[in-house]
Every structure is written in C-alpha cells, then in structure tokens.
Amino acid sequence: MSQKNELTHDAPKLTLVDRIDIIKNHRLFPVIFPLSMLVVIFLIFIVLTGGRFADTRVLTGVFNQSLIVATMATAVAFIYSTGNIDISVGNVMGLAACLGALAYQVTQSMTVMIVVTMAVGIVLMMFNCVLGLVFNVKSAMVAIVAMSVYGAITSVLVGAEPIGVDFKACKVLEGNFRYIAFVLYFVVCLLAFSRTAIGRKLRFIGGNENCAEQTGINRKKAIATSYIFAGIGVGLAGVFQVLRTGNVAQTIGSGMGMDVMLATVLGGMSIFGGAKSNTFAGFVGAVTVTVLNTGLLMIGVPSTLIQGFRGVFFLILVFLNSERQKTLPSRQQF
C-alpha cells in the first residue's frame, strides 16, 4: 500500500494545459462544448433582455432564421466528414431554387416547384461529385469552378427582376411543412451517419482514405453516397428559401457556402473530416450565429458594432474548440 502511494507521489504532476488537453480529447467534447457555449450565450441574452429572449416568438424566429443554413450544414457534413470540401453548396441551392421557381411559374404548382428544386439540388451535387471522382480533381477545386458556373447560370436565368412565387401559397407551406421536412431529414441524417455503415465508412475515409480502401471500403461509392445525402439537403434548403422569401433573386445563395462552413466549425466539427465528424454540428453552429445576431440587436448593440462583436466571438469560440495539430497535415487538399 505504501509502495503504491509512493509511486503515485512520484508520478509527474499534470499541468493545467495537460488537463485541458485531456478534456478536449474526450470523445464527447466536440458535442458538449459547442452546445454548452450556445446555452451560455442563450442564458446571457435572457438575463440582458430581462427574460424577453426566452419568449416563444423569439425562439421561433431564431429557429426559422437558422433553418436554411442548418439544413445545408447538416447536408454538407456528409461531404466534410470524408475530408472533402464543397463551398459551392450556396450556389447549388440558388440554382436549384431558381429552376424550381421557374417550374412554378410554368405550372403554378407548389408540388412541382418542390420536386424540381430537390431534383436539381441532387443532380448538381452529383455533377460536382462526378467531376471530382471521374477526373480525379480535388473537391475544393471543383467547388470553386462550380460556384462561378452555377452563379452565372442563376444570374442569367433570373434576369432583371426576381422570379416570383406566390408568397401566399408559400406561407401555407412555410410553417409545418418546413418543420416536418427538416426534422425528418435531420433525423434520417443523424441515424444514417451515426448508426449505419454509411457514416462509419465516411468517417473512416475522412480519417485515412488509404487505410479505408485497404479494408475493402469502396471509396468512390461511399463519397457518391455522401453527395447524394448532401444533394437532398441542399435541395431541401432551396425549397425552404423559396418558401421563406417567395422569390428568387440573382444573388440567391451567393456567400452561403462560407456561412455553412462557419456554422459547421462553430458547431464543433472539423471541416477536414475524420472520426469525430457528426451531422448536428452545423445545426448547433447555425443556431449560435442566429442567437448572436438576434440577441445583440435586442440588447441594443448598434448594427455597426454587431459584426465586430460577432467576429471576436467566433474567433474565441473557434480558438477554444479547434485542434491544432502537432504535426504537418497528413491530407493534401489541393
């Protein structure tokens, strides 16, 4: 007994940095930390607004405003988990919504609009995937080209005036349809990613694609699957966008690829994929951004300062949450 005590006594003491590293390396840390931060921000705003921030109207608003980016971020998690990056999702969503709105103008049918938007979302994401896999071009490069091409096509199709969709018809679907569709998609993604071979294969590929292939995983097939899941989500986001605004303007979706990436990182997921990837990080991140925007406005921070506050906060959050590799990155992105 005394010998054991002596051994423990002689063991090197853990420094604060070591202890923090142990906590950060815990498998649940990427889940708990962003959620905790979200809860803390939320509570701070409740206090600063005298409880008004907990009002149902505010919560509904936060959810509605987060929905589009959250859906896309959930979708793109499948691609990010494999170590691939696609920042063209905003433009894919824009072009899908544009064609969906045009289909509505021709048929005056919301069903057709939804089907066309979803189909275009899937087809365009698959097109990105095929370009990457068949021509062996890195996904990031494909995405950069796709952004310009899809953005230009959208611009030409939309023309001078935004394409209108009867917003009264949109309002009928805006509420329950959006919520049900999102929850269904989110749950399916969650289960597929964490409880099936699909998610395991994608995470494995993201960790080390050579090892994954040597264990018999068909890399191309798995990545194609990830783009199909992403395409469904991006198409769905396009439908949500049309339902929310009732129109499609030239600028639709531009810059949204970066918003999705920001949401993913704020939600605690590495955009370089791997074993710790998950599908709910984007949702948490998107809600965090919206909570900040709404909360800062409600407590009276001038709009000119909000961007600065947001930037500083994101920087701190990412700094606390990110892993800094002690070795060179093992994966070439370009």
Partner: protein, 416 residues
C-alpha cells in the same frame, strides 16, 4: 494561460454588451411631444455618408424631440436579410419599419409580415404594378412609399449633358446603369435620361432599345449608327468585381466620360485617377451623389488636368428624405394614417426633388447644410409641417406640397 485569457476576453465582451445595453440612445424624454414613446427599425442597404447622416439625424435630433428610439440594421443585401431584420426588430419592440431596401414586387410580402408583427411599414420606393396590392389592401399598416421625383432627377442629368456636350467633339462613354436591371426606379430614370441625352446630342440611333440596354444585367456595348463607344455597365460598387471591371474598361483608353446613375462617387475616385495617370487622359465624371465627404472630396480634388474629379452631381438633402419617411411612420403611429392615404384610398407615395451641383463653390454652399443639429435641412419646423399631430388638418396632398416647399431657395433663406 491562453485559455484563461480567452475566457477573460469573453467576459469582457459580455460586460461590454451589458454596457452597450445601458448606454443606448433611448430618448431621455426631453422632447416636447408628451405621451407614448415609439421605436422604429431602419433597414439600411449600404453604410455610406448618407446612412451616417441619417443615423445621426434620427438618433440625436429626431429621437429626443419626438420620443422615438431608432434601431438600425446592418447592410441588408437581399430580401431574406431584410425579413430577418424585421423579425428581430419586432421582438426588439419596434413599432414601425423604415425600409430602404428596394423590394420591387415584394412590398405586399413585407407589408403582410409587418402586419403579422403589428408594425407599420414605410418604404423607400413608389407605387407600381408589381406592388399594387400592398398599396391598396394593407393601408392600415402599410404607410406607403417615399422617393425622389424620378423623372425630375433624370431631367437634371439630361439637361446637363445636353448643355455641356459639344456634338462636334467626339467622346466615348461608360454609362453606369446601376440597379436599373433590378428595377431600381431612380437608376432606371437616370440611365434612360443619360442615354436619351447622348442620343439627342449626337443624333445617333442605338441598335437596341434604351430599355433593353438598361435592363441588361451584364455589361453591354450600346452600339449605334454613329460609331460612338457607349458601354452600359450595370451593378453596384459593393458587388464583387464591379470596381475591377470598371477599371479594366477605363484602362482600355477608349472612354473619356463616366456617367453614373448610382451613388458611387466615393468608390470610383481611385480608379478614375489611376486611369487618368496611366493614359494621360482627362476623364469627366457625372454622377448621382449625396452630401458628405465623398462628394466634397471629389468636387474639391483637381485631377492632373486641373478639373474636379466629378463635374456634375445631383444631390439630395438626406435629412429631408429621412424626415419624410419618419413623418409617414409617425403619422401612422399617432393615429393620423389619413395623411398616408391617396384620394383613391390607396397608400400615398410622397416625392422629393433633387438638386444639381456643378461646382465646388455651389457644393460648399449646400454642403454646409445637413451637417449637424444646427444645420439640418429638415429642422423641427420642417418636420412639424409633415406631422398631422403638429399641423392639424394636414392631408396627404398638403404633406406633398410642404415637401416641395423645402427647396434650394427656401433652405438658403432659412440658413442665412
């Protein structure tokens, strides 16, 4: 240690936010309007001289006097961001929205959104076929629009070009059509009048119609039977690639006149100077502007040929326009919505007239106005003349007459 530092920084931000909350611009109640206080959300589309003046005018001058608090948006670049701000303004306790984002066909949608949130909506824009429903069916919460008298603004540009362009001397032009392709009424009128003036001065005939030229969302050469190079260049200075595109066009050396329908004078000065220096060529700029440092610098800065960077600009008095929007919202909030209703029962669009400035001296005279609380063009006497609460029996038409009464001569007399 670094982690502790970040936590400390976070705490500092939180404390800072709390401080901001307490140091807001809530009116202190020192105004002469007793009773209820109001909060108005302002949707901004760009952060420039105009928005800075507007913010100062509203917060420091209008707010305390009329018991109104103002909340400003970040620069809203699309309908979704406008809707988000309106939703956030509603939960922040706003009673009305002053919208500077041109929504075209979506007025009804925003009117409905504001109606659902129990807010008054006033828009910087006018009645047209696309937003007829909003003007007719939402008059209880939709207080209509306010905008420049666009044909009058276009006329100022046309008259200047017709008076200053010598038809015997050939020039080549870049015509910045701005947001005309998106339906921006002001930039549409100015672009049409600029192209019409060139047509009249040189007696040329375009291969395409002027409407087709200004509706193009991509740059287009306005080819014509006289062979004069006229390059229609759409878009906004804030758009990615717009300035480099303009610079590239100038660097070809073809163009020596830049006619801009949008408020871009503050953005294009550098590329104009660069082109002049590289090409050793005088480039004349005519454009829409607003009082502030950007226009002042442009008028006072002489290029290497001894000419001001901008030769002519139309200007508006920001506080006059702001006061119009505020008055419409305030009249509706104080139960005098009849001042916002036209004779046909639809919401009324109130108009203001622009002024042309062609020299630094002229600008200096007008530019000394609208600077601070002692020089606002729309002072309390002007604002009161727009408010039914202060001017009993005010009608929409009289409100309009009172706006037109605030012109260069009347302001000059008052300022002296």
């Amino acid at each position: 240690m670094k982690k502790l530092l970040t936590i400390l920084l976070s705490l500092m931000i939180v404390i800072g936010l709390a401080a901001c909350n307490n140091s807001g611009s809530t009116p202190s109640g020192e105004g002469d309007v007793s009773g209820k206080s109001y909060k108005i959300g302002v949707v901004e589309v760009m952060l420039n001289d105009e928005s800075v003046i507007r913010s100062k005018y509203f917060k420091e001058y209008i707010g305390p006097k009329y018991n109104v608090e103002f909340m400003f948006s970040e620069a809203c670049t699309d309908l979704d961001s406008v809707m988000k701000f309106i939703e956030n303004a509603a939960v922040s306790g706003c009673d009305a929205i002053l919208n500077y984002y041109a929504v075209g066909a979506n007025s009804e949608q925003l009117a409905l959104l504001c109606q659902e949130k129990g807010m008054i909506l006033v828009e910087n824009g006018g009645r047209n076929a696309a937003n007829e429903e909003a003007y007719k069916n939402y008059t209880d919460t939709y207080a209509g629009g306010f905008m420049a008298d666009q044909p009058d603004t276009g006329r100022l540009f046309r008259e200047y070009l017709e008076a200053n362009l010598d038809p015997t001397v050939e020039h080549n032009f870049i015509v910045g059509t701005g947001g005309a392709y998106q339906g921006n009424a002001q930039q549409t009128e100015i672009s049409i009048n600029m192209l019409t003036a060139l047509q009249d001065v040189y007696g040329l005939k375009y291969d395409k119609t002027i409407q087709e030229l200004i509706e193009s969302s991509s740059p287009i050469e306005a080819t014509n039977d006289k062979g004069i190079a006229i390059y229609c260049y759409p878009g906004h200075a804030t758009a990615e690639g717009w300035l480099p595109g303009l610079s590239a066009a100038l660097q070809t050396g073809t163009y020596d006149y830049v006619l801009m329908s949008g408020n871009v004078i503050g953005n294009i000065g550098t590329v104009i100077s660069e082109a002049e220096a590289v090409l050793n060529k005088d480039i004349t700029v005519v454009g829409f502007g607003s009082f502030g440092d950007a226009l002042s610098n442009a008028m006072h800065t002489l290029d290497q040929f001894g000419n001001p960077t901008v030769s002519m600009s139309t200007v508006k008095f920001t506080t006059l326009v702001s006061a119009m929007g505020f008055a419409k919202a305030y009249n509706a909030l104080t139960g005098h919505n009849e001042v916002n209703i036209d004779t046909d029962g639809a919401a009324f669009t109130h108009l203001f007239r622009m002024n042309a400035v062609t020299s630094a001296a002229e600008l200096d005279e007008m530019g000394s106005w609208d600077k601070d609380n002692d020089s606002w063009v729309a002072d309390y006497s002007v604002v009161d003349s727009f408010l039914a609460e202060k001017t009993p029996g005010l009608t929409a038409q009289q409100f309009q007459e009172n706006i037109y009464a605030v012109n260069y001569e009347s302001i000059k007399a008052r300022m002296q």
